[in-house]
């Protein structure tokens, strides 16, 4: 096999005559992946923590509702969920709402669909982590909170959640890394994110190895930054005396 390596191709002007280089394409894909990942972190954490709290509240209705939610979002493949949001949901909605969704620009539709899909998908996983974190706190703390006259809401607010949030940082890190990896699935509905740009570059330049290596490196950079960031968070909020805490 003989392959002509040419890394310069990344910095040569694009064939479509837009006045940008192929590197700019990669950069725009990188930005889309990064923004989608960050937005998903926020959405998934807010929804996941809320659900996780309701999952632990001793109320049968709450338990059934949240465990059904988790079962659905964990047992259907991500790409099927994404296609459901993109192709099925606008048709099921009342026609006025469906038309309103379709009035957005294609990019905004792709992005919004991917964001909703990834957020809900990830929130089901975060919900389970929050639940196991709260379950890991000795039940005596809950009882002690009630005994000193706190309401159940206050026990969650001042006792369980401050500890629970710190316990879930390590599992949350791997979940956050998964988000950027899962976001590559969004290319299937047409979102021009990082992995879509790899295929775009292959179509235009035929330099597939350079394009794929650059894109793979892009994902590694995002994941590395995530791990470094979360390690700082972990260090900052670590509880003295717990496993993994020094001193």
């Amino acid at each position: 096999m003989s392959y002509q390596w040419d890394w310069g191709i990344l910095f040569s002007p694009v064939a479509t005559g837009e006045g940008s280089t192929y590197f700019d394409w990669l950069l725009s894909g990188f930005t889309v992946t990064l923004v989608l990942t960050l937005c998903t972190w926020v959405g998934a954490t807010v929804i996941g923590v809320t659900l996780g709290v309701f999952r632990t509240v001793p109320n049968p209705a709450c338990t059934v509702a949240t465990s059904t939610y988790v079962a659905i979002f964990r047992n259907v493949p991500l790409i099927v969920q994404l296609f459901t949001w993109y192709f099925v949901v606008p048709e099921i909605l009342p026609s006025a709402a469906g038309d309103w969704l379709k009035s957005f620009s294609p990019f905004n539709q792709f992005f919004a669909c991917s964001l909703v899909c990834l957020s809900l998908f990830t929130s089901a996983r975060i919900c389970e982590q929050v639940r196991s974190a709260i379950d890991a706190i000795p039940v005596g703390q809950y009882n002690a909170g009630l005994a000193i006259g706190l309401t159940r809401f206050q026990v969650y607010r001042h006792v369980l959640l401050p500890v629970g949030f710190r316990i879930i940082v390590p599992p949350l890190t791997s979940e956050f890394v998964s988000v950027s990896k899962n976001s590559a699935v969004a290319s299937t509905i047409g979102l021009a994110e990082l992995s879509a740009q790899a295929q775009h570059l292959v179509d235009y330049t035929a330099h597939s190895y350079e394009a794929f290596i650059a894109v793979t490196a892009g994902y590694m950079i995002i994941n590395l930054l995530t791990i470094i960031l979360m390690r700082q968070v972990e260090k900052a909020v670590r509880i003295p005396g717990y496993l993994g805490a020094k001193g």
Partner: protein
Amino acid sequence: MIQISWHDILSALPALWRGAIVSLQITLVALIVGIILGCLLALLRLSSSKPLAMVATAYVTIFRSIPLVMVLLWFYLIAPQFLKALLHLPPNIDVRLASAFVAFSLFEAAYYAEIIRAGIQSVGRGQLNAGLALGLSYLQTVQFVILPQAIRVVTPLLVTQAIILLQDTSLVYVIGLADFFRMAVNIGDRDGTTIDMILFVGACYFAVCGILSAIVKLLQAKTSR
């Protein structure tokens, strides 16, 4: 609300079944090869040889930091050229299934390696020494003493990973392989029944993975007892 057309779904069932076979083939191959490779990687990672441990660690880290979609595209790009050059296949032969087998096996191996490593580390150090003291060789000790115990501890995790694998096979969509999901989407495009097909496929995955998840719960209850 929309009306699900059961008639269209029924007439698509034979084709969907062919797709499901492809999904199951990929799952089974990746499961078996992945676990075997995963065991090897886990043992290498825990071996006393620094270079071997580093190679295994690098392998696991790299595969775990790349999206599966990219891995599939990588192997779709490389494997065809490589396999054709190696086996002198005609240039127009369809190697998508083979490249999916390779990609999933190598990708899953990285994840299984981490699970099995956790299992091996949960086996007491004394077990290894006891095996060696009995006169077993290192490999015999690993094969007959360490791995059986390690695998038993992590069986729920292995099954959970298999459920994730089954769901992830739907991503072969990106290389155009007609698995269960891609087949349904293709039929939906052809007959204008995309909505019915997507909902039906989602329900099928939910049923199968839901049952498997319930089995995992039973296994966990059994092992924790």
